[in-house]
Amino acid sequence: MRATTELHPATRLPKPEAPEIRGFLQLLSLVGYHSPMQITWQRWITVTALGFLALACTENIEAPAQCPEFCPPERIVIIDSVFRGVVMGDSAFRGYQASHNPPVMQFVTDGAVLETRGVTRFRGFSRFIAGGGDTILSLDSFRIMIQMIRRDTAVVGLTLDLYQLPSDVDSTTRFDDLDQYIVDSNRITTYAVDDTLAAGVLEVVFPASALPGIGDDSSVAAVAWILQSPSPTYLDIGTSEGGQWPVIGRYLTLETSSGDTVEIFVGDEPTEFDSFLAADPAPLVDSLLVIGGVPSARSIIRFNLPPVIRDSSDIVKATLLMMMSQPVAAVPRDGATIRARAVTRDVGQKSPRGDVNTIVAGSGGVVLQAGEFDTVRLDITDIMVTWTLDSVLPSVIMLSAAPEAGRMFEVRVFSSRSTQPPILFLSYIPPFEQRRR
């Protein structure tokens, strides 16, 4: 059984000439082969065995399961369960976004849920210096351009009434403050919105006489926008925050040095302030959670989850059920989305929100339409999955509307201090040790 390992010098292989042959023989020499003549059958078996082992290092044990006979006995059990009383310490706060903050403002007709009035204050006109010898003969007219983002195309016959406002209009101006200016004597023009236009630029041109005192250097134009239509509706208009600000320009008549009379356009001056004003919202009450509105309200919901859920279970689906106290307040055929975000630190009203919704798809929020009066079913699966993975995060979510404060949309649901508190509907898999019991 013992193989010969000592080699007689005469049996040694002459140095091979070809490098590849030399390398192969050097490899063989590592396991004791100094000459092909010395390769005995034992060594062939050794090489074969080692080669086999080297080749067999790959593994393939994955196979289709043959259930239930040849499956692990620990089968997954998904439990659907309604958790009542797990919401505690919920509250609503208003003022996160004012009407002049969002990238879009919504003009709403009188007669809708909440009428709004658009306000735009343009930057002061800059000095126009005519060319050498040119003379300004007259300021003829103005042109205001606004970007219509969205409208309800089912409603036609829309008009925009423009009223001149004082140049000091700003974020402290309230809805009622405009009453004194929304009068016929103050009307600049009425602009008819093209019924076929779903979105695009609205170009309002009116004579300079309609905006008295404006047009000279450093003068500031400010206007109010009142939407009128046969039936309640809205127009979403771009704002300076969204990079789609209204602009105003001037048409002038010049006399050139050669004696010719020409008409030129000078502008466009951008917006310094734009907003839309609505009547003050109803005050917050303890028994209700409020989401949306202008200025925007958010609601914070704190959960007191059983440790077995928070720390050990696998969440398959989590739905927060909230009972509305009144129909969704929004312009007819309009709506918005309610979204939940996990709070990374619970410091009450100013809690920072984590963007955990991106972890798992499927919980982008719930879309609610005007007049809906039902149970709000908000998917918070992503958030709860994150909680089970990160024990540091507080079990707190913040509900907000999207777009926030850019749309007249508000939802009111009952809080935990009401007779119809929020409910958590969970589909989950209990921890392994619990499944064994």
Partner: protein, 376 residues
């Protein structure tokens, strides 16, 4: 010489992935698929030499046969296919460290020791399943992947005493330890439901004791017997959560070795294990399908040309877990071995064809085992 042995060991290590034994379709049931703590020589003889082989970890009394220090490591590769419910899965393969041993005499006293490392229970599987489940009143399809990688390892320390030339006795202490990495993945249809991703590390801890004797009434005849008792194995999830205690089987074995002429050697071993005890710690339906097992292996070793040993074996074994009637395994084996490095190293090999059936499954396996034994 040393360089060659190191190279051989290194290549054997390259070809393996971990310490589990070969997997089986039956690995997914109960506590797992029982390993075989035997040398490759014994494997080639159908396990017939198990109670008499000092290099196997069945009978501590056999350890007294050590005459010089030696160490060995075994690598086993398996290539298998199985059929369940008219579905055949082929092309499954894996390579594992199945067994390792070091033993030898203690000084000049008639005492010897042996330390072994063997797979006690293989818990390696990787299955993919599809199905539908009801969630909130909706029927939702899913694809899931369940896998377990690991084993319960039997670390044995044995001491044996040659009481007189005709009687050897030994005792051994066993430490049962190991972990399995359990992975569960389930993806539901669509995006309405969160996928499940669960990774658990399950650890096993237990102890055992065994004792055995070898009686040599004649130079051509040896008889052996051993018994092993185990504690309950403690099963823990991620170190701090204990599932509970699961009983392990008691083991009783007996064997005979007969060499009518020096060039022909017969050996046979029978083993009984009370696997049905483990049912107390199992989940349904495995708990109702745990069986005591008998294992009988016999083999012959012939002295071939050039002192080349030729070994043949046959083994019949019952399996402890099966979804229905008790499953069985039949092995046909062949092997040989040769020495090199001036006799300080031996390479043994065994080729086995295993056929398992029962409980609605049929499994066929080719197993190739190599053992490198070195005398330092």
């Amino acid at each position: 010489m040393t360089r060659r042995i190191v190279l051989v060991v290194a290549l054997m290590a390259l070809g393996t992935s971990d310490s589990s034994a070969q997997t089986s379709v039956y690995s997914v049931l109960g506590l797992g698929y029982p390993g075989r703590a035997i040398s490759v020589r014994t494997r080639a003889m159908g396990g017939g030499l198990a109670t008499l082989d000092p290099g196997s970890a069945l009978n501590p009394g056999a350890v007294a046969a050590y005459r010089q220090l030696s160490t060995s490591v075994t690598v086993t590769s398996s290539f298998r296919e199985y059929t369940v419910n008219d579905t055949t899965v082929a092309g499954l393969k894996d390579t594992r460290f199945a067994y390792a041993s070091i033993g030898g005499p203690i000084g000049n006293a008639p005492i010897a020791f042996n330390l072994t490392f063997a797979t006690y229970l293989d818990r390696t599987y990787d299955v993919v399943d599809t199905g539908r489940v009801e969630i909130r009143g909706d029927t939702v399809g899913y694809v899931e992947n369940i896998s377990s990688d690991g084993a319960v390892i039997d670390l044995r320390g044995a001491v044996a005493w040659e009481i007189d030339p005709k009687l050897r006795a030994g005792v051994a202490f066993h430490i049962l330890s190991g972990t399995t990495e359990n992975v569960f993945r389930r993806n539901f249809e669509g995006t309405d439901y969160a996928p499940l991703n669960r990774d658990d590390r399950v650890s096993f801890t237990g102890f055992g004791g065994s004792a055995g004797i070898v009686y040599l009434p004649e130079p051509y005849l040896r008889l052996a017997a051993s018994v092993r008792i185990n504690s309950d194995v403690s099963v823990k999830l991620t170190e701090d959560v204990t599932f509970g205690q699961t009983p392990l089987p008691t083991e009783v074995s007996g064997g005979v070795f007969f060499a009518p002429v020096p060039t022909i050697r017969f050996a046979s071993t029978a083993i009984w294990r009370s696997w049905s005890n483990t049912a107390k710690g199992l989940l349904a339906p495995d708990a109702a399908n745990a069986y005591d097992t008998w294992e009988i292996g016999s083999g012959v070793e012939l002295q071939g040309p050039g002192n080349l040993p030729l070994r043949f074996g046959f083994r019949y074994a019952q399996l402890p877990y099966s979804p229905a009637e008790q499953a069985r395994e039949i092995n046909l084996s062949f092997g040989s071995g040769f020495g090199f490095a001036q006799g300080r190293a031996t390479l043994e090999f065994a080729i086995e064809r295993a056929m398992r059936d029962g409980g609605g499954a049929e499994e066929k396996v080719w197993m190739l085992s190599f053992e490198l034994r070195v005398v330092p």
